[in-house]
C-alpha cells in the first residue's frame, strides 16, 4: 500500500453510458422539480423519462458487443446482464406509458396531487380542484430504474447493496402515492418500507459475513475463496443464507412473500405493474449473478434450498390465490406462484435454467403489465373496481378488453399458443434435464391449482350475467392503449413464434466474473 500516490481509476464511460443517461435524467428531473414552473414540469419530465429510457435501450443494443468487467470490477456488463437491463428498460418504458395515463381518472392521473397532503383533507380537495399534478414521481421512477440496472450488473456485494437501495427507496415512496384509496396506499408504503429495510439489513449482514470469509466483496474473489477451500464454514453458510433472504424477499418467494399481496393491492396500478414486472426481473437478475458467479462454488448447498423454496412458493401462491376475492390481490398471489416457477430455473444451476428463467421473465413481465393496464381501466367513478364479482359480464360490455384479459389469464395458466406455455415448457425442461422430476411434478400440481383461479376470472367475465351497476372498461388514452397492445402482441407472438427470442437469449452466453 502506497498511500501517497493514488492511481486514477480506468473507467470506460461509453460502456457506462446507459447508466449515466438514466441516472443523470433522474438528477435533472429533480432539478426540474425544483426550478421549473408547475405547468412546464410534466412535459419536460416525460421527455426526460422516455428520452433517457429509450436512449439507454438503444445504446445498450448498439454497443451490446462491448462487454466486460467495468468500473474497476464494480459492474459486470455481460450477455445476461445486458439482457436483464434491456428487459428492465423495455418494461419500464411500458410502465411509464401506464403512468403517463391521465384520461381514465376524471380527476387526472393515478397519483395523488401531493403525497404529503392529508387524505380527504381540505387542501387535498382544493389541489384536486385546481387540477394539480405531482410530477416528483418521474425522477423517483428513473432512480428506481437506474438502481435496477446497477442491481443486475453489480459485480461486487457493495454495489449490489447500494443498487438495491437505489432501486427500493423510490419504490417505497411511489407505493404511497395513489390518488384514490389513500389510506390503503400509505399503509402499503409503510409496510413495504419497514419490511424492505428489514430485509436489506439481513442482506447487508450477509454481505458482512461473506466479506469476513473472503476478505473481499468482489464476486470473483469470493468465488476464488470458495474454490480454494471448499466446505462449509459458519461464515459462508450464514452469509449465503442472509444474502438469499434479502434477494428472495425482493423476489417475493415464500416465506418472504408476506409483503407482496398488501403492497400490490395498495399501490397505484401502474406502480404495482412496475413492482410486479421490473422489480422481479431485477431481483432475479441479481439472484442469478450472486448464486451463479459468487456462490457457484457452494451450489450443492443452495440447490436443495432453492428446490424447497420454489416448491413452497408455487404451491402456496396458487392455493391462496384460489381463495381471493380481489383481482389485484389475486394477481399478487399469482405473481408469487409465478416466481416459484422461475425459481425452478434458478435452482437447476445450469445455463439452460438461466435461459429458461429469462424467457419466463420476458413472458411474465409483459403479461403482467398488460394485466395491470386493464385493471387500471376497469373502474367506476370511485376509482378502480377490483372486487372480482363486480367483473361479472365484462365480456359482454367490453369484449375486446375482456378478451385481452382472458388471453393474459390463459398465458399465466400456461396454455399453448401463449408466451406462458413456452415459458413453462422451458423451465420444466431445464429441470428435467437435471433429472429433477419431483420439482416438475410439484410444478404440474401447482399449475393445475393455478389454472383453477385463472379460469375462474374468465368464467366471471364471460359466463356470468353482469350485476347491477357493474363497471365497464373505460376508454384509455393512447399511452395505455399502446402499452396494452404491446403486451397482448408479445404474449401471443412469443407463444406462436418464440424462436427469435429463444435464440437471442441463448446467444447471451454466461456471466462474466
Amino acid at each position: 500500500m502506497t498511500p501517497d500516490v493514488m492511481p486514477a481509476p480506468s473507467i470506460d464511460y461509453i460502456a457506462l453510458l446507459p447508466y449515466i443517461l438514466v441516472g443523470a435524467a433522474g438528477v435533472i428531473g429533480v432539478i426540474v422539480e425544483a426550478f421549473v414552473g408547475r405547468g412546464a414540469r410534466r412535459p419536460i419530465q416525460l421527455v426526460l423519462v422516455f428520452g433517457s429510457l429509450i436512449g439507454a435501450f438503444v445504446i445498450l443494443v448498439v454497443n451490446r458487443a462491448t462487454q466486460g468487467i467495468q468500473a474497476e470490477g464494480a459492474l459486470a456488463i455481460d450477455g445476461p446482464g445486458i439482457l436483464f437491463m434491456g428487459l428492465i428498460l423495455l418494461l419500464s418504458i411500458l410502465v411509464a406509458l401506464l403512468m403517463a395515463e391521465r384520461q381514465l381518472d376524471p380527476a387526472g392521473d393515478a397519483f395523488a396531487p401531493r403525497a404529503s397532503a392529508l387524505p380527504g383533507s381540505e387542501d387535498e380537495r382544493e389541489l384536486t380542484v385546481r387540477g394539480y399534478f405531482q410530477t416528483e414521481i418521474w425522477p423517483l421512477f428513473l432512480f428506481s430504474v437506474f438502481g435496477m440496472m446497477l442491481f443486475v450488473t453489480a459485480s461486487n456485494l457493495l454495489v449490489l447493496f447500494i443498487a438495491l437501495e437505489i432501486m427500493s427507496l423510490p419504490l417505497y415512496l411511489m407505493a404511497g402515492m395513489s390518488r384514490r384509496r389513500r389510506l390503503l396506499s400509505q399503509e402499503a408504503a409503510l409496510k413495504y418500507f419497514i419490511l424492505g429495510a428489514f430485509s436489506s439489513a439481513f442482506l447487508l449482514f450477509g454481505i458482512a459475513l461473506l466479506y469476513g470469509y473472503a476478505g473481499s466483496v468482489e464476486f470473483s474473489a469470493i468465488a476464488d475463496a470458495l474454490a480454494a477451500e471448499p466446505g462449509q464454514t459458519a461464515l459462508v453458510v450464514g452469509g449465503t443464507a442472509l444474502l438469499a433472504v434479502g434477494l428472495l424477499f425482493k423476489i417475493g418467494a415464500v416465506p418472504f412473500h408476506a409483503w407482496v399481496p398488501d403492497v400490490y393491492q395498495g399501490s397505484p396500478a401502474p406502480v404495482t405493474a412496475f413492482m410486479a414486472a421490473a422489480v422481479k426481473v431485477a431481483a432475479f437478475g441479481a439472484l442469478f449473478r450472486v448464486m451463479y458467479v459468487a456462490l457457484g462454488g457452494v451450489r450443492w448447498d443452495w440447490e436443495p434450498l432453492l428446490w424447497i423454496i420454489a416448491g413452497l412458493t408455487m404451491l402456496f401462491g396458487s392455493v391462496v390465490a384460489i381463495a381471493q376475492t380481489d383481482i389485484k390481490r389475486m394477481i399478487a398471489y399469482s405473481s408469487i406462484a409465478q416466481a416459484g416457477f422461475i425459481l425452478i430455473g434458478v435452482s437447476t444451476a445450469t445455463a439452460q435454467g438461466l435461459y429458461a428463467s429469462i424467457f419466463y421473465l420476458v413472458a411474465y413481465g409483459f403479461t403482467t403489465i398488460g394485466i395491470f393496464a386493464i385493471i387500471s381501466m376497469v373502474r367506476l367513478s370511485g376509482g378502480e373496481v377490483t372486487r372480482l364479482d363486480q367483473w361479472a359480464g365484462l365480456g359482454k360490455r367490453s369484449p375486446v378488453v375482456a378478451t385481452s384479459f382472458a388471453i393474459f389469464m390463459f398465458a399465466l395458466a400456461g396454455f399453448p399458443l401463449t408466451s406462458g406455455f413456452i415459458a413453462k415448457f422451458l423451465v420444466f425442461e431445464s429441470a428435467l434435464a437435471v433429472d429433477n422430476l419431483g420439482l416438475v411434478i410439484v410444478g404440474v400440481i401447482a399449475s393445475v391449482m393455478a389454472a383453477f383461479f385463472y379460469i375462474r376470472v374468465v368464467v366471471i367475465m364471460f359466463f356470468r350475467e353482469p350485476v347491477e351497476g357493474a363497471p365497464a372498461a373505460a376508454v384509455p388514452s393512447a399511452t395505455t392503449t399502446l402499452a396494452l397492445a404491446i403486451s397482448v402482441a408479445v404474449t401471443v407472438i412469443l407463444g406462436i413464434l418464440p424462436e427469435p427470442v429463444i435464440n437471442l437469449i441463448e446467444q447471451a452466453g454466461v456471466f462474466l466474473r
Binding site: 462449509q232 443464507a241 424447497i308
Partner: protein, 645 residues
Amino acid sequence: MIGNGAVVLAEGAPSLQPLTAATGVFGYLWILIALPLFGAAVLLLGGRRTNKWGPYLGVLTVSLAAIYAIILLVSLMGRPAEERAIGQTLFEWVFVGGFSVPVALQLDQLSMVFVLLITIVGSLIHVYSLGYMEHDPDRRRFFGFLNLFIASMLLLVLADNYLLLYVGWEGVGLASYLLIGFWQWKPSAAAAAKKAFIMNRVGDVGLSLAIMLIFVTFGTVTFDSVFAAAGEANESTLTWIGLLLLLAACGKSAQFPLQAWLLDAMEGPTPVSALIHAATMVTAGVYLIVRSNPIYDGTAFALTAVVIIGVITMFMGAIIGSAKDDIKKALAGSTMSQIGYMVLAAGLGPIGYVFAIFHLLTHGVFKANLFLGAGSVIHGMNDEQDMRRYGALRTVMVITWITFMCGYLAIIGIPPFSGFFSKDDIIHAAFEQNLLVGVCTMLAAGITGFYMTRMVIMTFFGKARWPDDAHPHESKPVMTIPLIILGIGSVVTGAALLYWGNIESWLEPVTGIEEKPLPIPAIILEGITLAVVLIGVAIAIAKYRKEVPVEAPKGNLLTVAARNSLYDDAINDALVVKPTYVLSDGSVFVDDRIIDGTVEGSARFVGGLGSRLRRLQSGFARSYALLMVAGAVIVVAILYLARLP
C-alpha cells in the same frame, strides 16, 4: 371366381359335399333376400305416400320370392345329389389380419327346405294379414316389418358363415321386437317386445362367443371350412362350441331356461304369432343346431345337453299349454313343446337331425294353420282371446272350424295327418337312442293330445259362452283361403315330404343319417303311441264335455303353476332382473358419491386450504417480519442439513 375356393374345400373335406358355383338360375340367389328387403325399404322409408298400395307391394315381394324359391327347388332337384350345394360370394365383408368373412350365400338341401317354408308360409300369412290388419292405421309399417322379417330369416338360412348368420339371427330378432311391440301404445306390448329382445340377447352372447371360439379354433367361420376341420378339433373345444350354440338356440327358440319371452310375445298381432313365433323364427335354433351337426357329432356331452333341454322344454310347454285359457298362449305353450321335440330330436344326433327338420316343416305348416285359425276366431269374437268365452263356434265359423280340425289332428299325430309322420319318426329315433327319452316323447305326445283336445272343445264345441256384445262370424275369403291352403297342407305335408319328397335322402348329404334297431317292432310302438295320444284326448273330452265355467276354477297346484307359466317370470325377476337393478343403483351411488365425490372433495379441500392459509396474512407488518425471521432461520437450517453429496 366363387367356385375355385370351393374346389379346394372339396379336397380338404372329402366327407363334405362340395359347393358348386352359382350359375344359371342360381346366379340370382341374392334376389331372394333382396326382394323382401326392397319391399321393407320402400314401405318403411316411403312414408304415408305408400299407405294405399304398400301392403300389396309387401305381399307381392314375398310371393315373388316364393315363386323363385320353387323354381330353385325344381332346378335343384334336377341336379345330381352331389351338386346340390350352391355357393355364391357377393363381396368381402369384414377382413382384418387372418379374419376374413365374405357376404356369401349357400343354398343346399337344408337351406332349400327352409327357404320354401319361409317364403310359402310367409306369403300365405301376408295375404291373411291383408284381411286381419285391414282396419289398422299402421298397416303399412306392419307389412314393412313383415318383409324385413322375411328378408332377415332368408339371410339367416342362406348365410354360408356364422357371422353372416348372426346378422340374419339378429335381424329376425329385431323384426320380432318390432312386431311384438307393434301396438306400442299398449305398455304390455312394449314390455313384451323388450323382454323378448333382451332374452334373445342373452342367447346372442352364446352365439358371439361361439363364433369367436370357432374362429380361434379353426381360423375361419365359414361353414364348410369349419365343418371340414371339425374332426381335427379336440372334444372339449367342440363341447364348448356346442354348448354355446345351444345357449343361442335356447334364446331364439324359447327353450328352457330362456323360454319366458314366448308367451308374452303373443301380445303381437296374431299373424305375427303365426309366422314368427310358431312357423319360422322360433325354429331358427333348431336350424342352428342341425346346421352345425359336424360339430355336435364330435361331442356326445353337448348332444346330451341338447336332448335334456329339449325334454324339459317339451314338458314345460305341454303343461303350460294345458292350463292357459288364452287361446294364443295355449298355442304358444304347444309351440314351445313342439320345438322341444325338434331340439330333442336334433340332440339325438345323426339319427334325429333329419326328423327334427321334418317335424319342423310339418309343424311350421300346421302350427301356422292353427294360429291363423285362432286369429280368425279372435277376429270373429272381436278380439276376445279367452277360450272360456268361446264355445260352439263350429256352428258359425265353419271353414275356420274345419281347417282348425286339420291342424288339430295333425299336431296330435293322428294318421295320416302330417304330424303323425314327423312326430312318430322322432319317437322312433328317441327309442332307438335311449328308452327313457323315448318314453318321455311318448308321454308328451299324450299331453299334446290332451291340451289340443281341450282347446278344440272349449272353442268349437259345447255351449256358447260368448260375451253379450260378440257376434261371431266367419272371416273374409282373404283370410279363409290361406286357412284352407294351410289346412290342406296340414293334411298332406307329412306324407308328401316323407314318401314323395323323400326328405331323408334329400337331407342326408347335409346332416348324414343313421339307423339303429328298435327295441320293439315299429308297428307296436306306433300303436302304443297312438293309444297314449287317444288317452290324452279321452281325458280332455271327459273333463270338458260338460259345462265349462266362465270363471276359471281354482284348480290344483300344478294347474295354478301352469297358469302362471310355471313362475318363470318370478324366477327371472328374482335371479336376474332384481339383482341387475340393485347393481345398477349401486353403481350410480358409487359414481355420484365415491368417484365424483373424491374429485369434488379434493377441489373443495384445496379451496378450503387456501382460505385457511390466507389467514396467515394477518395484515400486521410485525407478524410478517416474524415470518421473515422464521424463514431466515429455516433457510440456515436447510443450508446446514439438506446438502447434496
